[in-house]
Structures are given as C-alpha cells and as structure tokens.
C-alpha cells in the first residue's frame, strides 16, 4: 500500500497504459469480423467458380468450367467491349482533365468554392442520378445509344478525378522550372513538351489508370446509357445473374474479380491514385 501511495499515479496509471496499447480485444475482433463479412462473399465467388456442381459445395473441384469459358465465345466479346470502352473513356478523361488542371492550376489556391464544387459535382452525385440524367441528355439530343454514349458517360465524370490528380501533380512542380527553361532559350512549345510533360507523366498515368478502372468496373451508368445492343462484362454478368446460378456465370465472375483486383492493386501502388482508392467512387 505504501508503495502505491508514493508512486506518482500519473506516470503509470493502468488506464493510461491502455491508451498506448494498440487496441483492445473488442475493437480488434470487430475489425477482423467486419473484414470477414466483407471478404467472405468475394472469396466464396472464387471458390464457387471451381466447384464441380456449383449448387453443392461438397461436390469437389474442377477447372473445367473456367477452361470452357476461356475457350468459348461468351466471355471475349463483352471483355473486349469493356476494354475498348475503358481505354477510350480513360484517354478522353485524361486529356480533358489535364487541360482543366493546366488551365486552372495556377489559380488553384484562389478558385472560388463554387467552381471547385462544380468540378466535384460529377464525383459526388450518386451514380443513379448521373446515369439517368445522361440518358435523358443523350435521348433528347438524339444520340444513338451504344459504345459512344457509354464512353462519353464514363469520361464525363472520370475527367474530374483526373483533374484533382493532375492539380496535385502540378503543385509539386517547381514553378521556376518553366522560367529556367525560358531563360535558357526554350520556346513555349519546347517548354511544355520537354520540361513540363516529363515531370507530370506519373500523374497522367495514375489518372488514366483510375479512369480506366472506374470505367471497367462500372455497371449502373453503362446499364442506363448502353441501349440494347452493347454488352460489357459487368452487363453480361448481370444478365446471366438474372437467369440464375450457372457454372458460366461463376467462371466469368472469377475472371472479373481477378481483373478488378489486379487493377486496384496497380492503383494502390501509385502514390498519385492511392488516396482515390480510399475515397472510393
């Protein structure tokens, strides 16, 4: 007792020790249980693709379904469509978004909040509203629904993501760089192509990849703006899903999971796009 009294309670109180400890058992359990809840459905999709009888977990494993899918035609057309739409929309979005960042970049600290909010708008608006409003827009202006409208729709909001990535990238650029090049006799065109551009390439790549990933994974906006003819991979999975469980659907889900996860890993590995992975889309 005497010992306890002479010790300063503030230096080693038991409660204070709890603050430094990483996390208590309840918090840690909740965290990992939640992760389990989030990953179980996706992990099971992977397992399911290899089940001999997809309706029976005890039926044993086979790679037949996946092999059949890779050798059949049902996968390749939607996959190619998704890739083409992804590449096209990402390229347009990167171009437009970069133009915006280069144009507004010097003013980015004094941009009125309303303008920033406007640029943010396509990111914040729920997908369902974006999809419906673009659908009405395309119909009223007599666009023929198909690959073009889907590309435009994807690029419309991806451009804003690229804009924010490029603004950050340009901010890191030394403002004296252009001036130094100018003093050394470079012309404006040369300054852009030989001095500025090589320095913002990482941002361009990250912005392009982010746009591509968003386009590749998008379901809802493609669903609204694609019309009847065009089938992307997510649309194909959706239409198979409406019919019910099938080995083909399971194998296709596996392909999609692998591609999506690969893409997000790449985004995560790039410093410029990492924070957008966390804010989600």
């Amino acid at each position: 007792m005497a010992f306890a009294k002479t010790t300063n309670p503030r230096s080693t109180p038991p409660e204070s020790a709890a603050v430094v400890l990483p996390n208590n058992i309840f918090i840690t359990t909740m965290f990992w249980a939640t992760m389990g809840f989030l990953y179980l459905p996706l992990a099971y999709l992977v397992v399911q693709a290899f089940l001999t009888d997809p309706g029976n977990i005890a039926s044993g494993f086979t790679t037949d379904w996946v092999v059949a899918l890779l050798h059949g035609d049902s996968l390749w057309e939607p996959l190619m469509n998704s890739l083409i739409i992804g590449v096209a929309s990402a390229t347009i979005a990167t171009f437009i978004g970069t133009l915006g960042a280069v144009g507004f970049g010097p003013f980015s600290t004094v941009l009125p909040p309303s303008l920033t909010a406007l640029i943010m708008l396509p990111i914040l608006i729920p997908e369902v509203i974006t999809g419906l409003s673009l659908l009405l827009f395309f119909l009223l202006f007599r666009f023929e629904l198909g690959a073009t409208t889907v590309v435009l729709a994807h690029a419309s909001f991806s451009a804003s993501f690229v804009y924010f990535i490029m603004i950050e990238q340009l901010r890191k650029l030394d403002p004296n760089l252009g001036e130094a090049a100018y003093d050394l006799g470079a012309e404006p065109g040369q300054i852009f192509w030989k001095v500025i551009l090589p320095n913002i390439v990482p941002g361009l790549i990250a912005g392009w990849l982010l746009s591509f990933t968003i386009s590749f994974d998008d379901f809802l906006i493609s669903f609204f703006t694609s019309g009847a003819g065009l089938i992307t991979l997510p649309l194909k999975i959706y239409s198979l899903m409406r019919i019910g469980f099938s080995p083909e659907l399971n194998a296709m889900s596996l392909v999609m999971i692998c591609l999506s996860t690969g893409l997000v890993m790449v985004l995560w590995s790039k410093e410029q796009s990492r924070k957008w992975v966390i804010s989600g889309s």
Binding site: V19, T34, L40, T116, P126, S133, F137, L152, S260
Partner: protein, 290 residues
C-alpha cells in the same frame, strides 16, 4: 506582390475546354432532369414542355409517401448499422501504426473496387436460397427447406450495409484521426470512466464529422436501384427502384425526374453542410471539399 485573382477573362483556353466539358456532360444533363420534372407527359406518352408542379404533388400521394417511409426506414436502419459496425473499425484504424493503417484501409476498399454486380452476386451466393449458408444448414439437417434471407426487406438491408460500410468508415476514421488522444487520457486521469470518456469527451468531438459522413451515405442509399431490384424480391418497394422504373418501365420521365430532383436536392444540402463545416473548421483559407 499582387493578389492572385481569377477573372473570367483570364481563363486560359484549356480551362474553358474543361469547363465546357463539365457544363455539357454534367450540369446540362442535370438541368434537363430538373426541367423535365416540371414537364407534362401527355396521354400518348409524349413530353410537352408546359410548366406544372403536378409531378411533385404526385410524389406526396399516399402511395409514394409509403414508398418514401419504407425507403427511409431501411436506409436509416442500414446507416445506423454502418455506424455501429464502422465505428470500431475506424477506431482500430485510427489507433493502428501508420503501416497497419494503410494496409487496413486498403483491405477495406479492395472489395469496393471489385465490380458492384459481383458484390451483389457474392451476397446471393452466400445468403441466397441455394447459397452457401442455406446449403450448410440444410446439410446439417437444421432445416428441410431453405431459409428465405434474401428477396425480403432484410435482403435490401443486408445489401445496403455491405455496399456502403467503407464509405462511412472513412469519415469516422478521419474524425477520429483529428481527435487528440491525449484528451482521452486526460479525461481518464481526471477520473472519468471508459463510458464517460467515450460519451462526453470522444463523441462530442467527432459528432459533426460523423453526422455529415452519415448524410453522404444515407442519401445515395435511398436512390439505390440494383440492390432492391436483385436482393429485395418482387414485392419490396424502394425509392430508387420506383424512380428508375418510371424511366424504363412506366415511360413517365417527368415523374421519374421529379423523384431524381428531390434526391439530388437532398445531396446538394449535404454538400452545402459539409462545405460550411469544413470552412468553419479550417478557417477562411480553406476551399474545396476534401
């Protein structure tokens, strides 16, 4: 040094191109929805641009008020569940080492970069009538026929929680991250117990950030179409589903647009609240939303 001010005539051409793009493909479509919500759909199904408030009045008919009530009930329930589950998850991340924190955030978001339809299919594969869960309990002999978890109101709830959870963990996490943990320690040193420290010190400090984060989850939830459509079965009504059906099944664009406009207004208010909040927190120099 001259103060840098952005005037319209100073905008370089590249800024104009980007601006025109935004206006054409984001603002204009949105204005079309807004305009359409005041238009009339004639008997023949054509749109006539005569101003009317009838579409909004219709949204207040008893049948749609019931839809709204059910939607709010489900979305609110899902948001609260996300809060209750998301808080410990965010707390874990906020107190983890920087490396663990990065890994944890990545783990949290990987599922959300796999395609949305796959996440729904994953839920069906686990909780559906022929899914893993029902297969397992039937094999164990606990029941003869599958338990109907999906294709009910609960199915929608499950889908909402699953799909929106990380988007609520992030705002809680950033609120907790800003919270000075030594305050917690100080409260305990001053004799507060764990519960008091939580309710009187921690919560008041993170309340606003969490409330705004919840709004950004709650409003988009109400507009969900695919989740109620696939996980909710044929009978369950939901605002987003009713809205999308106006466009595709009913061909009543004006009424669908009115529902979409109301939902968007809700979101605009959320954006406005967040901007006000962040300006107040960060002082007048702050701009932007993130």
């Amino acid at each position: 040094m001259k103060k840098l001010v952005l005037r319209l005539r100073d905008w370089p051409p590249s800024a104009w191109i980007f601006f025109a793009w935004l206006v054409t493909l984001s603002v204009l479509p949105f204005l079309i929805i807004l305009a359409m919500s005041f238009a009339v759909r004639s008997e023949s199904g054509l749109i006539s641009w005569t101003f009317t408030l009838a579409n909004y009045e219709r949204a207040f008919h008893l049948v749609y008020l019931k839809v709204l009530a059910k939607t709010i009930f489900l979305s609110l329930g899902a948001t609260i569940t996300c809060l209750l589950v998301g808080f410990p998850v965010a707390y874990y991340l906020a107190r983890a080492t920087p490396e663990k924190r990065q890994m944890g955030l990545m783990l949290l978001f990987i599922p959300f970069w796999t395609n949305f339809i796959l996440r729904i299919y994953g839920i069906v594969s686990i909780f559906g009538n022929h899914g893993l869960l029902n297969q397992t309990i039937m094999r164990l002999g606990l029941t003869d026929s599958p338990i109907e978890i999906l294709y009910t109101r609960f199915g929608i709830y499950l889908g909402l929680v699953y799909n929106y959870l990380p988007f609520l963990v992030v705002p809680i996490f950033s609120a907790l991250e800003k919270f000075d943990l030594s305050l917690r320690e100080a409260a305990m040193d001053l004799g507060a117990n764990r519960w008091q420290t939580f309710t009187r010190v921690l919560l008041p400090n993170v309340r606003e950030g969490i409330a705004i984060g919840s709004l950004f989850v709650f409003i988009p939830m109400m507009g969900e179409y695919v989740i109620p459509d696939i996980l909710g079965g044929a009978k369950e009504v939901f605002l987003g589903r009713v809205m999308v059906e106006q466009f595709f099944t009913m061909q009543d664009w004006p009424f669908g647009s009115a529902l979409a406009s109301v939902l968007s207004m809700g979101l605009m208010i959320a954006v406005w609240v967040r901007m006000r909040f962040e300006q107040r927190k960060a002082g007048p120099t702050s701009h932007g939303l993130r």
